[in-house]
């Protein structure tokens, strides 16, 4: 259309004057015809332009209607937020929030917070600035689970994804897409609570067995070696139970463990001392630069160290040295544990941090375990803003590292 318009226009400009000169010889008449021709040109081009604009507008309108219909028909709730104002909500959003109409959902984010009482999944109330949409307004795409109280009085858990809308103008547009995950969340909470109770109930009888074994050991020193075995197995069982408990608790109280400042070197040396007592036939060495201050949940970090050392011992069945090193860099504290044992088969290395995955399952080197400890370790380390990784050569051994942000000054 545009091309036709351009070609016709150019042809007219180029040839109409020549044609007029050829056909009309009377100068006065030619001038009059020139004027009429000019008017005609303006008329035709205006009509063409008008048609062009009309078609473009129609296309835009159709496009807009289609987009609107698509958003409106989405199964997920959609909110469009301009600055801090919810300016659009689709039908799913209105229904999900138990509102009777769009107007109850639209409005300032502060009103939304008052009306729908957003909370994190542990029940902590969220302020406007804590919302996924607010983070998106600050430019960060993000996804999180949030609890809401619907207008018809139900508590639901929604999974919200919010992102800034790329737009050339100055407008601060963001889009929030959310879906009801209450059912899945409830199941997960129930499973975790069950796991926590089960693990707790398992530990109590273990405590009794261990205490009585110690009592008998005191009274009948001749049976000490046998009773030491009982205690060692109780300790092992306790650790397995602890892993189960950890797996569930970590998901229940997301990072609400105590955050204290402690000496990582001291913690590692305590774990190694405990391990030396069990006399596994390995030479445990520790290289540490002196006190290394980090902040976090000391018990849980201790469990990570314990896990790495347990694995090193377990997967070097022929004994040998196990070297642990604490390294303090400018801004991070690293712990590495090296064994010279079995190593991890190459095709299984990728999956070893997966929950329930056991790299040596089904091989002659299957020494049991639940496949939880590395998954938990990674979760613990990640919660502390750190990372965990390894190198391993089958037949030669493995080195596992984890690094945490190091604190420079102890907090007052």
């Amino acid at each position: 259309m545009v091309i036709v318009y351009a070609v016709l226009g150019l042809l007219w400009i180029a040839f109409s004057d020549r044609l007029l000169e050829l056909l009309v010889h009377d100068a006065v008449l030619r001038d009059q015809l020139q004027t009429v021709k000019g008017g005609f040109f303006v008329l035709v081009t205006s009509a063409l332009l008008f048609e062009l604009v009309r078609r473009g507008q129609k296309r835009l309108l159709t496009f807009g209607t289609e987009i609107r219909a698509a958003v409106e028909s989405m199964v997920d709730g959609v909110l469009v937020i301009d600055a801090s104002e919810i300016v659009e909500a689709n039908r799913a959003a209105v229904e999900l929030l138990g509102a009777s109409g769009k107007q109850e959902v639209l409005g300032h984010l502060d009103t939304f917070v008052r009306r729908f009482q957003p909370r994190s999944t542990d029940g902590t109330p969220l302020a406007t600035s804590d919302l996924a949409a607010s983070a998106a307004l600050r430019g960060a795409r993000n996804t999180r689970n949030t609890m809401l109280r619907t207008l018809d009085g139900r508590d639901i858990v929604v999974n919200v994804s919010a992102a800034p809308i790329a737009s050339p103008g100055e407008t601060q547009l963001t889009i929030s897409v959310f879906r009801d995950v209450s059912h899945a969340h409830r199941l997960e909470t129930m499973r975790d609570e069950f796991l926590a109770t089960a693990a707790h109930e398992l530990k109590t009888p273990l405590a009794v067995v261990k205490a009585y074994a110690q009592l008998v050991q005191r009274r009948v020193p001749a049976e000490a070696p046998a009773l030491a075995v009982v205690q060692r197995q109780v300790d092992r069982m306790t650790r397995l139970v602890q892993h189960l408990l950890d797996a569930s608790r970590l998901r229940l109280d997301l990072g609400t463990g105590p955050r204290e400042r402690f000496d990582l070197s001291l913690l590692v040396s305590e774990v190694i001392d405990r391990l030396r007592e069990s006399d596994s036939g390995h030479q445990l060495t520790l290289l540490a630069p002196g006190p290394v201050s980090v902040q976090g949940d000391r018990d849980r970090i201790g469990r990570v160290v314990q896990t790495l050392l347990d694995n090193a011992v377990r997967f070097s069945p022929r004994g040998g040295p196990i070297e642990t090193e604490v390294i303090l860099d400018a801004d991070q504290a690293e712990v590495s544990v090296t064994d010279h044992g079995l190593g991890i088969p190459l095709d299984r290395q990728e999956r070893i941090f997966e929950r329930y995955y056991r790299a040596h399952a089904g091989t002659p080197e299957d020494y049991g375990g639940l496949g939880l400890s590395l998954d938990m370790s990674r979760e613990i380390v990640t919660r502390h803003g750190g990372r965990i990784w390894f190198e391993s050569t089958p037949g030669q051994g493995s080195t596992f590292h984890f690094a945490l942000p190091a604190g420079k000054e102890p907090e007052p």
Binding site: L206, A207, K210, P258, D299
Partner: protein, 125 residues
């Protein structure tokens, strides 16, 4: 008379063992199998140390600790003995003076008693 130790624990096997252990070490020991019974024991006579299990029927450790603090403040140290995942956290919740994670070593129990109470005379362990 030196103040005794009140052991609050719903598992009778464990309760019996701790009682025996502390008695053999020369301490005066009284026992309770839940928080409510423990409050009765306390009102009879203020102990010098309370070893407190957390998960118990009738009245659990949290409720007992809250009630105890309301009535008596910090009249006596409380040591939380728990199989919960994070004993330290549980101890902080009830403002306990110390904690013991289950399973514990018998020596830890004795160390805890020695930390809060004068060494008893006539110990025979």
């Amino acid at each position: 008379m030196t103040p005794g130790i009140l052991v609050v624990e719903d598992d009778l096997d464990l309760l019996g063992l701790i009682e025996m252990l502390l008695q053999e070490a020369g301490y005066r020991v009284r026992t309770a199998i839940h928080g409510l019974q423990a409050l009765e024991r306390v009102s009879d006579e203020m102990p010098g140390l309370i070893l407190l299990d957390m998960r118990m029927p009738v009245m659990n450790g949290w409720e007992f600790a809250r009630e105890f603090r309301t009535r008596y403040g910090r009249a006596c140290p409380i040591v939380v003995v728990t199989a919960a995942e994070n004993a330290r956290l549980r101890a902080r919740e009830v403002e306990a003076d110390a904690w013991l994670a289950k399973p514990f070593d018998l020596d830890d129990v004795l160390r805890m008693a020695a930390r809060f109470l004068p060494q008893p005379s006539g110990a025979h362990v």
